[in-house]
């Protein structure tokens, strides 16, 4: 261990009371204290605890003039079902001329007035100058001439896990800051954006500083959550021993930008990565829309990102870590491997990515096993689609897209997904054994459902051995949720089946009735129906989202599923739950069908993604109390260019009738459209 400043004493120590010098030395070097302590026992330094206590108080005193009380007036009472407090909150002076940093949590209620009590005791009005939407901070400017005391920031490289960290707020008493003592638990949390401490962090010190034993500021206390975004995310961990602080050194680097009134936003690269566990899968670019920052910098589909700003990236989570601290507008150096060669790119991260819109060729592939020599046999051509206009017909076999041969329909789907609506796609079509080049201009995915579909495959003989058909119970040993599946009587294990997970309202669970309605559709469209039951007879709980997923995984063990046609749906409460399942399991769910259910309140709708496709089917009754919100949700989905099919169901609120149900079944059957 390094012995810092033993001889001669640095200036900082000279102005310090003796006991603090002694303590500082102990802090610098624990092994030193091991040999010193027995010698000092019985002498003036015997009461180590007292010295520690004094040092802690001195640290608080040192930073106290910069810790200011904030009061807000008016505003909302509840935000995202969290009851917002009305008490005073804390801010930290960061520049002499009246700039104060605080936590966005303290202003989530959108107050009509903000007052700051200055060190002189005078109150002054303050306005929000800018927000950091990545680290959830706000910068305030007070309308006063009083010079503020600005604390010193601890450089990142001096922070050591295990060092003292003291949380300071000014909420209980104006004259005396409130403190909580802990240690630094980690230095790179929340994707590299925050420090972690075991001091008790809560609304009583959000916005205040986390200081070291010298009273220098480590960071600004904020609630944060590794999974969720928003001002109140992470507030549920208050006083738990898990608290976060944004390093002040990081904020100082952005202070001028904030002072100029520009909000800081998380920086986006604009790529979709190859599916897989983010802690195990390399960062291979699976999609990279033409207008994204990554594409503009030269990155392409198939590249594997291996380094960002000099930090190696072996797995996708590391890429997230490397990009986490960056803001929109930052330039990052990205190294990617392309065909075994390392290539370097400089990407300017963006605030928003132009929403991805899926291009549409207009064909449904046949689901027979792929023909000898590969190719995509066409099952159906959508009337009026680019494929129809180019003369492609059912029965044709598509064998190449551009220069790429098409071994199966998956390759065609991925190839088209990389293009954009309006692009020209060159295809090779095989008809009666004759290849022919066709060029189509890609369109956008239609919102209507076709009236009739031809069978997806020829008749295959049933094998002797088949898993159970009819009503099948799916049981997870660790969960109490009941679930039944309907496997059609003509089930053929050689064919991958689509899956409809239908979530009924908890009060109305009736598997027999549901299965009766779906039976013929399951047979006609190669579908399995799965109906999980909520554990609580009154409601679905958000935690059951993962149980639904486990049930699907458990079913798929015996019944291979077609990954392109996994749909979750439901009526009212079941529909709301279906949306949560779909949003929570993008890697699984390809379609979500909701009847009289709106998008989750306040929850962000996931972006339209070229790889993790998600299509929406919305049943809407004009006189439903939900109608306005459902329509707003549909508009929101259209804005992000998600493929949405809306079925108007008349005035009265009801579940789907038989006709609408067969439309829904055809929609499910056509989800593998290209």
């Amino acid at each position: 261990m390094k012995l810092r400043g033993l001889s001669p004493l640095p200036n900082r120590f000279r102005t310090m009371p003796l006991h603090r010098v002694w303590l500082r030395l102990v802090c610098c070097s624990l092994p030193l204290s091991f040999c010193l302590l027995p010698l000092l026992a019985g002498s003036a330094a015997a009461d180590v605890q007292e010295d520690e206590e004094r040092a802690l108080k001195a640290a608080v005193e040192a930073v106290a003039p910069a810790v200011l009380r904030i009061e807000t007036f008016g505003g909302l009472e509840k935000v995202d079902s969290v009851l917002v407090g009305t008490g005073p909150t804390t801010g930290l002076a960061v520049s002499e001329d009246g700039y104060i940093l605080s936590s966005a949590f303290n202003f989530v209620q959108k107050p009509s007035s903000i007052l700051v009590t200055l060190p002189s005791g005078k109150r002054a009005t303050a306005d929000i100058v800018a927000r950091d939407e990545s680290r959830m901070l706000v910068l305030l400017k007070v309308a006063a001439d009083e010079k503020l005391l600005v604390p010193q920031a601890v450089p990142r490289d001096e922070m050591v896990v295990g060092q003292w960290s003291i949380a300071v707020g000014r909420t209980f008493e104006l004259g005396q800051p409130n403190v909580s003592v802990g240690v630094l638990s980690a230095t790179n949390r929340i994707w590299g954006k925050a420090l972690q401490t075991d001091a008790k962090i809560s609304p009583s010190n959000y916005g205040g500083p986390l200081v070291d034993i010298q009273g220098r500021v480590l960071g600004i206390l904020v609630p944060l959550s590794p999974q969720r975004q928003g001002e109140v995310a992470g507030a549920e961990w208050y006083d738990s021993g898990i608290g976060f602080a944004v390093p002040l050194a990081d904020v100082y680097a952005q202070l001028d930008k904030l002072k100029s009134g520009s909000d800081l936003k998380p920086g986006l690269l604009g790529v979709s990565l190859k599916r897989g566990d983010i802690y195990a899968t390399p960062a291979e670019v699976a999609a990279c829309p033409a207008k994204s920052p990554a594409y503009e910098a030269g990155l392409r589909v198939g590249d594997t990102i291996v380094e960002v700003n000099g930090k190696p990236v072996a797995r996708q989570a590391q890429l997230r870590h490397a990009l986490g601290p960056h803001y929109a507008g930052d330039q990052v150096q990205v190294v990617a491997e392309r065909k075994g060669q390392r290539q370097e790119f400089v990407v300017t991260l963006a605030e928003t990515i132009e929403p991805y819109e899926r291009p549409f060729l207009g064909v449904l592939p046949n689901r027979d096993p792929p023909p000898e020599g590969g190719g995509v046999p066409v099952r159906f051509v959508f009337p009026g689609s680019p494929a129809a206009q180019a003369g492609i017909q059912a029965g044709d076999v598509l064998t190449a897209l551009g220069d790429e041969r098409l071994p199966d329909s998956r390759t065609l789907q991925d190839g088209i997904a990389r293009l954009e609506p309006g692009n020209a796609a060159k295809l090779v079509r095989l008809r009666d054994g004759e290849p022919q080049d066709v060029t189509v201009a890609l369109a956008t995915v239609p919102s209507n459902v076709v009236d009739q579909l031809p069978p997806a495959r020829g008749d295959l003989p049933l094998p002797d051995q088949r898993p159970a058909v009819g009503k099948v119970e799916i049981k997870l040993p660790e969960e109490k949720n009941e679930a039944f599946a309907w496997v059609p009587e003509n089930y053929n294990p050689q064919v991958p089946y689509g899956l409809v997970v239908w979530l009924q309202s908890p009060q109305e669970y009736d598997f027999e009735k549901l299965a009766e309605r779906w039976k013929s559709h399951c047979e006609a469209h190669d579908l399995i129906l799965l109906a999980p039951k909520s554990a609580d007879a009154r409601r679905w709980l958000p935690t059951e989202v993962d149980i639904v997923r486990k049930l699907v995984d458990s079913l798929a063990v015996n019944y291979p599923l077609d990954p392109r046609r996994v749909v979750v749906g439901g009526y009212q409460a079941g529909g709301a739950m279906a949306l949560l399942v779909a949003f929570g399991h993008r890697d699984l769910v390809r379609g979500v069908a909701v009847v009289d259910a709106s998008l989750p309140r306040g929850g962000a709708v996931p972006d339209n993604d070229p790889i993790e496709r998600l299509d929406y089917y919305v049943g809407l009754a004009a006189k439903s109390p939900q109608a306005a919100r459902i329509r707003a949700g549909v508009e929101q989905l259209q804005k992000i260019k998600a493929p949405v099919t809306v079925t108007e169901m008349g005035d009265t609120v009801r579940d789907l009738n038989d006709e609408e149900l067969s439309e829904l079944a055809r929609w499910v059957d056509s989800l593998d459209r290209i």
Partner: protein, 386 residues
């Protein structure tokens, strides 16, 4: 005991409002409770003192424990040994509807006087006190102070280790403290009570803002940064790092200013006169009800000539909509669009809060309004009858 049944019931009621919320945690009372719930799960494990002391603290502590020849500076474990015999476990009424039937207390005389909090647990003829060594006694209620929410019990025993209330020490923000209690009823029989370690976060008054805390106690408290105030902990002892009595752990209390749970202790010094009175057999007055202090004829907005904007939200900011001419407000220079911030230095952040604050001011008294006009803060002295 009969004479106490009335007020005791009031205590029971208050607690039954408070405690179920605490028990339900994440399910019943919103996401802000989740932190509490986690604490609940964790706290019983926090038996050992240096849990929060930090690496350095723990390292040095370890040295102190092991280092031979360290005479004067008593280690936490030595201090704990001295304090534990003074602690008692109290069992009484409860055990239904999520109300615990136990709480904590400590001895304040060699003859078996026990100080604890006044709660529904004592609302029975059968209150049992178990000493640190496991001896079990039926306790008699000597008296209670409903305002301070404390009670004194008596058991028939002699020569007991005890704290002297008169020797209690004051402590300050930043001081290290130990909290002794039987939180969650973890300890039974001769098991010692649980020890938590932390620091004083702040010293504050519970009356700083009206309605912020649901308790009749209005004096100072030590706010703590350890999870001291869990079910069953009320009545426990807070000591400084030398084991000297500093305060008594209070009942569970929600801070409505931040919507978080408050960990706190009532300073021992605040209790001395009341305990003396109880021991002397004097009857302490009923808790002074805030609303009883309201004047019969309070100031009204109408009398001042102020019309606020329509009160449509629960937290409508108190903007002045109109000022009636030739009224006190008009003469004092108030104008439409002024935002009222404080009434006599008490924050009034909504129309409702302004009306409420005014109801505490007598019509014949002068008072001060602080308003915001644009970026400016203005103080205005008003008198409803001038």
């Amino acid at each position: 005991m009969n004479s106490l049944t009335g007020p005791m019931n009031a205590g029971l009621k208050r607690n039954s409002r408070l405690t179920p919320a605490a028990r339900l945690g994440a399910h019943g009372a919103g996401p802000m409770d989740a932190g509490r719930n986690r604490n609940s799960g964790r706290t019983p494990a926090a038996r050992l003192a240096p849990c929060g002391a930090g690496l350095l603290g723990a390292a040095i502590l370890a040295l102190l424990l092991s280092g031979p020849g360290i005479g004067q500076a008593a280690s936490f474990s030595q201090i704990v040994d001295i304090v534990q015999p003074k602690m008692v476990k109290i069992y009484g009424a409860g055990g239904i509807q999520g109300l615990e039937s136990y709480q904590s207390g400590f001895l304040i005389s060699a003859e078996g006087h026990v100080l604890t909090v006044w709660s529904y647990v004592l609302d029975t003829d059968l209150v049992t006190v178990i000493l640190d060594d496991g001896r079990k006694y039926q306790a008699e209620l000597v008296g209670a102070d409903p305002r301070l929410e404390i009670a004194v019990l008596k058991i028939e025993a002699q020569d007991l280790a005890h704290f002297s209330l008169n020797q209690a020490v004051p402590i300050q923000a930043g001081d290290r403290v130990l909290a002794f209690s039987n939180l969650y009823g973890v300890a039974t029989g001769d098991e010692p009570s649980s020890v938590l370690h932390g620091n004083v976060a702040a010293t504050t008054s519970l009356s700083a803002r009206r309605g912020a805390f649901e308790t009749t106690y209005r004096g100072n408290v030590y706010v703590l940064d350890a999870m001291t105030n869990n079910p069953g902990a009320a009545g426990g002892a807070l000591t400084d790092r030398r084991g000297q009595l500093a305060g008594i752990l209070g009942k569970e209390l929600r801070n409505s200013l931040t919507n978080t749970w408050l960990n706190y202790a009532v300073p021992a010094a605040e209790l001395v006169p009341a305990v003396d009175d109880i021991l002397a057999g004097k009857v302490r007055p009923r808790g002074d009800d805030e609303s009883a202090r309201k004047p019969l004829d309070p100031v009204t907005l109408q009398a001042l000539g102020i019309v606020l904007v329509p009160d449509v939200l629960s937290k409508t900011p108190p903007f002045i909509d109109r000022v009636i001419r030739e009224t006190p407000a008009d003469k004092a220079g108030l104008r439409a669009d002024d935002l009222i911030l404080f009434v006599n230095d008490r924050i009034a952040s909504s129309c409702r809060a302004v009306r409420d604050e005014l109801s505490y001011i007598d019509r014949i008294d002068e008072f001060r309004l602080t308003v915001q006009r644009g970026q400016e803060l203005l103080d205005v002295v008003l008198h409803a009858e001038r």
